[in-house]
Structure formats: structure tokens, C-alpha cells
């Protein structure tokens, strides 16, 4: 099958790109691994009518416009070939003259003792479970990490009747207000803080969860901060330090990347979301974490650019304003250096059983100077998840050991996954 435009990812960015391109009469395929459209932001159940969702009307409108798009849920892309041929798990192929990559992001984690206990999940996973299946992760859930995303997670859990003993935020986010942000965004954060107050959920800043305790399952966490340590009982911990953009398909397609303000590797784009590879566009979190509205704006721009339409100034301005705000957030929530205060015996790479200590030793003793070297010498990030979980932390360790900041090359060593999803040899052999 050949299309004018193939879009990968049906979150806010991909939905906007696909429907925009279709509106200009182009043949468009929209591929997404999930069973329903909406991505992370509008993850929902079949019967959902929008209660508890934000901007549901926008989603409903986009969903209606999918009639003009060849939308293929349940499609996992594992390889992108130049020209462009997109390969799905199962053997199907989609060819497109233009390619829009809107693959979003996943949670960023930093290990601590007990992070592998059942009941400890990422903030995104807790949110996905709640939104996608209506199941809260526990009855008494500590929400921790850093970033504005902790607020909707805690508010959502509280609405579902879950007791949230505290939200633990590593940064001191009152700095938001110093950065000339668009008003709507601040209002959103304020609304969430009001919801937390209504549910009597304390919002504790400049603190981190330094350990999770439990025998077979988490039963408490230790919170460390300026005032010392405190133990909070819980039956689940939802923890996330922002997001890591899903750049592997873009890298496989040859797109240039850059280091973003929040320390992530992102796809480099120009005004019309065009990447360094002619014909390839990238939109949404894959070009830098900035929230659903920014993803929508970028998706529209990509849809317009991919069909050769002029780019409306208002849209470009909105994008700049939202990007500026994202940069403020990134600065405020910039992860406090984790490398210096992590426990040496903690397993960093769960797939391959590599400890923090093993990575530190590889730097001290085996001549490791970068992320790639750490992989080669210790197998960190070499297992099933291909460094999705441990990559950010491993890069921090190596960079700290070498006495420098994390570099683009460090992150590239973990973000380069030409085989984007595991595929059977039988399928590959065909």
C-alpha cells in the first residue's frame, strides 16, 4: 500500500497531523501500537464519554475526522526503511512519500533501593492503568518524582477514591511564575493544586523518595529532604522524573537529534516540524516534552507542512509560546543530580542485572568514557527493554564518573534501536 503520508503514533500529535493532511485530500495512513486512538493523554476505555478527561471535545472531533484516514490500531512499527517503507510486526508494510513521526515519550526513571518491588510503578504507568482500565494502582499511593505530570496523576487517583498520603516533588516549582508563562498553563497547575488541597494531599517539594520498603510488595517509602528522613506507609508508589522521548524510529530514519532543556534526547525540527531528513516530519513529545496542547499544535503544523500548505503565523506563535513554557518547566524540574546520591548496590539495569556499582567500576577500571562504553563493558541497557528504563540513569552515572555533563552521544548510545520492537527471526527471515 502506498500513501501520500504515513503517520506513526495516534496521540494528540499524530491525530492532528493525520487529520490535517487528510483534510487537504491526501491519502493518509495512521499507525499506532495501541488499540484505541488518543495516545497517552487521551488514553481511555471503550465506553468512555469523556468524564475525567481534559479537552475531550477536541479528541472527539479528531476521532470523527479519522473517517478520512486509514487508521490502523494495534500496529507496532519495528523498522523504517528509507524512501519510506514502514514495517509492522506481523509482516504488513506501509509505504509513504512523507513520514510523520509522532511516537511520544515514556517515563524517565532513576533507580533507588526497592524500585523493583511490586507496587512500585512509574507515574505514567499508574496513570495509564487508571485511564485505560479504570484500575487504581493501590489504595494508599505515594506519588513522587518531579514535574507537572505528578499533579494530574495524584488528582486522578484521589478522584478515584485512592488515599494519596503525599506528593513528593524533587524540585521547588514555585519558580514557574518567574518565567513569563502562558496564563492557561499556570491556571491548569493551580487547578490541580486546588484539587490536591481539597483532598488534603500535601505537596512536599525539594524531597525525594530515597528507598521503597517491603517484603514481596512495597509497604512504605523513605522520603529524604532538607528536614531529614521520614517513612510513609503505602501500598503503592507512582514515581516519575519527567519523560524520555521515543526517538528510535527517528534515529533509524536518519534524523538529527539534539539535547533538550530537560536533559532528554529529542528530534531536531524546523518551523514546519521538518527533520534533517527530507520528507520526514516529527511532532509532539518526540521533539521535546511539552504537554498535549503543544503536541496538538505541532501535529497540525506537521500535517500542513507534509502537504505543502502555508504555516499560519498564529499557530507558529502558539508553538513558540508553549515551547518557551516547556523550557521554563524543564529548568524548574531539572532533575537534581542523581548519580552522586544513589545506592551502589541498587540494580540499575533490571533486564541484565547490572548494579550501579558495576557501571561505576567500569568507568574507574575498564576505560569506559561514555554511554556506549558502559553498555559494551557491563551490558547495562542491553536486555529486553533496550535501555528504555535504565538509559537516562546509566548516562548520568557515566557522565558523573567522567566529570562532565550527559552528552548527546551518551543518550544516542541508548536511544539508537534500529529494531524498534522485538521481532521473531521467522518474521525477519521472510
Amino acid at each position: 500500500m502506498r500513501y501520500d503520508v504515513v503517520v506513526i503514533g495516534a496521540g494528540p500529535a499524530g491525530l492532528a497531523a493525520a487529520t490535517t493532511a487528510a483534510r487537504f485530500g491526501r491519502s493518509v495512513a495512521l499507525l499506532d501500537a495501541a488499540t484505541r486512538p488518543g495516545g497517552q493523554f487521551w488514553r481511555h476505555r471503550a465506553a468512555d464519554t469523556g468524564a475525567g478527561h481534559r479537552d475531550w471535545a477536541t479528541f472527539a472531533a479528531l476521532r470523527d475526522q479519522l473517517s478520512g484516514v486509514d487508521y490502523r490500531p494495534g500496529s507496532r512499527v519495528w523498522f523504517v526503511e528509507p524512501g519510506f517503507t514502514v514495517h509492522l510486526e506481523g509482516g504488513e508494510r506501509f509505504a509513504g512519500a512523507r513520514l510523520v513521526l509522532a511516537t511520544g515519550a515514556y517515563d524517565r526513571s532513576f533507580p533507588f533501593p526497592g524500585w523493583d518491588l511490586p507496587g512500585v510503578v512509574t507515574a505514567g504507568a499508574a496513570q495509564a492503568l487508571l485511564k485505560g482500565q479504570g484500575v487504581p494502582i493501590g489504595k494508599r499511593v505515594v506519588v513522587a518524582g518531579s514535574g507537572p505530570f505528578l499533579l494530574p496523576v495524584a488528582a486522578g487517583l484521589a478522584r478515584a477514591g485512592v488515599r494519596v498520603p503525599a506528593v513528593i516533588e524533587a524540585a521547588s516549582p514555585l519558580g514557574y511564575l518567574r518565567g513569563v508563562p502562558p496564563l492557561g498553563k499556570v491556571a491548569e497547575a493551580a487547578a490541580y493544586l486546588a484539587q490536591l488541597a481539597r483532598h488534603r494531599i500535601p505537596y512536599r517539594t525539594r524531597r525525594v523518595v530515597s528507598a521503597a520498603h517491603g517484603d514481596g510488595r512495597v509497604t512504605a517509602v523513605t522520603v529524604s529532604g532538607p528536614g531529614g528522613q521520614r517513612v510513609i506507609e503505602c501500598d503503592a508508589l507512582a514515581i516519575g522524573y519527567g519523560f524520555t522521548p521515543q526517538v528510535e524510529l527517528a534515529i533509524a530514519a536518519g534524523c538529527e537529534t539534539r539535547l533538550d532543556g530537560d536533559g532528554s534526547l529529542v528530534v531536531q525540527v524546523e518551523d514546519g516540524q521538518s527533520t534533517s531528513v527530507p520528507g520526514v516530519y516529527a511532532a509532539g513529545e518526540v521533539t521535546g516534552v511539552g504537554g498535549a496542547e503543544l503536541s496538538l499544535v505541532e501535529g497540525r503544523l506537521a500535517g500542513l507542512a507534509a502537504t505543502g500548505q502555508p504555516l499560519p503565523l498564529a499557530l507558529l506563535r502558539r508553538r513558540s509560546a508553549l515551547r518557551r513554557f516547556a523550557a521554563v518547566l524543564a529548568r524548574v524540574h531539572r532533575t537534581p543530580p542523581w548519580a552522586g546520591r544513589c545506592d551502589e548496590q541498587t540494580v540499575l539495569c533490571r533486564c541484565e542485572g547490572v548494579t550501579v556499582d558495576a557501571v561505576n567500576r567500569s568507568v574507574r577500571q575498564l576505560g569506559v568514557v561514555d554511554g556506549r562504553g558502559a553498555k559494551l563493558m557491563t551490558r547495562v541497557g542491553m536486555g529486553w527493554c533496550q535501555g528504555r528504563v535504565c538509559g537516562a540513569a546509566a548516562c548520568q552515572l557515566v557522565a558523573a564518573g567522567a566529570g562532565r555533563e550527559v552528552s548527546r552521544d551518551d543518550l544516542l548510545a541508548f536511544g539508537t534501536r534500529p529494531i524498534a520492537q522485538p521481532v521473531t527471526l521467522a518474521e525477519l527471515a521472510e
Binding site: 536518519g254 541484565e352 556506549r372 559494551l376 542491553m382 536486555g383 534500529p418 525477519l428 527471515a429 521472510e430
Partner: protein, 366 residues
Amino acid sequence: MDGQGVPDVVVIGAGVVGAACAYYLSRAGLTVTVLDRGGVSGGTTGAGEGNILVSDKPPGPELQIALRSNELWRALGRQLEGIELEVKGGLVVTESQEQQEALRAFASGQAGVTATEVTDVRDYEPHLAPDLAGGMFYPQDMQVQPMLAAAQLLRASGATVRLGVTVTSIEPGRVVTDAGVIAAGAIVNAAGVWAGQLGDVPVLPRRGFILVTSRQPELVRHKVYAASYVAAVESDAADLQTSPVIEGTKAGSILIGSSRERVGFDAAMSLPVLRLLAAGAVRLFPVLKQVRLIRAYKGFRPYTLDHLPIIGADPRVPGLYHACGHEGAGVGLAPITGKLIADQITGSPTDVDLSPFRPERFHVQL
């Protein structure tokens, strides 16, 4: 070593070959500084596999040094910690009686190589396809984790290792780097596939891909490859050659090769090549069909026109020695290369005829 003063030898390249040079030079009592623009094993050593083979070498000078290197690796396996050396043996399998006869003839010419003819290859590898004709088992073939081996050779050498230093040119008695000029009594060019540009020797890239599966229970015990592999290794063709080579690793994943292409330093993943590798692997091991590939990587083998490494003094530049161009056998040949370089620099007699490896053998063509 304190890194003060002029080292006896500067080795350029912290791959497995440079590391082995540093090891044997230090053991010969020389002070050594190793330079690399990246980290240890960041070049081809970190982008290949770790087979130490005698089975695939036709009679001739390479087989001669491969046998010597095999012995040196065994000794290193006892001396160095954590290099994952396994004397697992290699199994070459054939698909027809004709191939089996050709393999038998090939093996009978390999003086010094132990080979046992195998009629039922499934005695050695229970998961092999039932319709293979036969094979040959080579107990001397081994495997090592090449990145760790290079790191441990360097540690054991006690050499000064300076990483993140790029050499821009080699001059008599000194190398010019982005971190200043470094004087040295002798210089060893062990810059792998990049040695050509640096030392003006004809070393060129030959690209290879490797597939890596998820962890498995032990499905593949030995290094297993098809008899067609030897022909692919020796081939002079520029276009793609593939031949199945399969092995398990200590970590549980299975590595699948091999491909050979002369496409310069083109780093793009080629799906057609990956498909051929997968097809070759499931042909030999049908059990791998449902096993998942999680990763693929590529590397550039440093090859020379006669497929022999370049080992020895460069008559054009006093004090410069080359140790490069090992193509798909640099891990296997690293110890003997280091030993020969150390012998040459210290003026000790070598018991190997070095003439086939002399750098100047190519000069007539220049």
C-alpha cells in the same frame, strides 16, 4: 607508571589489538602509553564478536599465527580475570555430501588443527536442522568477550592509558594529538580500520552486521557455522556475502552473523542483509524461528587486499610499527600480534616468519 617522561612506546588505539600490544610490550619491560580518541574497545572491537578461530583458516601464514595466538589466549584465560574465555569448540556444518568432502579435504590440509569428522551434527548441537549432511568439529576454537578482554589486557599491562585523545599525525619519534605532541621511542599504529589514514597503509572497511536475540536457555553450545563461511571470508568480491554463523554467549543471548560488504563507512542498517542473516540462522536452527531479535549492530572490519594483517616496522618512518588490518580475526590474532610487535621493538628473535605481514608488501602498488 606515572605518565611522566618519554614513554618507550606509544600505542595508538585501545582496541583489542592495541591492548594486546601494550600488554606484551609492558611485559617485555618497556614503558607504554596507550592513546585512544574514544574509550577502551569503542572501535571495531566493540562492534564485532569474540571468536578465536583456527577452523576457518586455510593453510598459510594466517593459520600459522592463529595457532600461536590460540595458545597465547589459553594462557591469558588463566591469567586475566573476567574475560569470559570459553574453550567451547567450533562446529562447521555442511548441507551436502559434496560440501562434506570439500570440508574434509580442507581440514586435512590444516596442519596443526585438530578436526573430528561428525556424521550426526545433532550429537553436538541437538537443535540443528535434521537434514544437514554432516560436519567437522574443531575443539581448539574458542570464544572471548572482546571488549572486556581489551580492558583487562590494558589493566594488566600497567600502561598509561589516555582516553579522549585524538592523534592527528605520526612523525618520527612523536605523535601529534589534539592534546599536544607526545614523544615516544617507538610508535605502534593499532588504529584498526582507521589505521590506514593515520599511517598511510592500505586498510579498508568491510561492513558486517550482527543480530542479537533475547536471552535463551542454552540452545546453541558451540560456535556453529556453515561450510560456505570460509569461502565468504576469503572472497575478494565487493558485493554482499552472507553465511550463517551462530553462537550463544555467557549472557544468554544468541549472536547471528555474518555478512561482508565493501560499502565504505556506510552506517545505515540494511534490512535485506538482516533478513538474509535471519534466514541463514533459522535454516540451521529451526528452533530459532520463534526467538525474538532485540537488537542489531554493525561494525567495520579492517581489511587489506590480501586478507592478511599488517604487522611490523614501517621502513619509511623510523620507529613506526603497524599492527592493523586483521579483518574478521583481530580478536583471535590480537595476542600474537602484540607478542610479535614486542619482539620486534625489543629486538628479540621472532619464531614466526614475518615477511607475509610486512607493511611494505603493498608499497609496490602505491
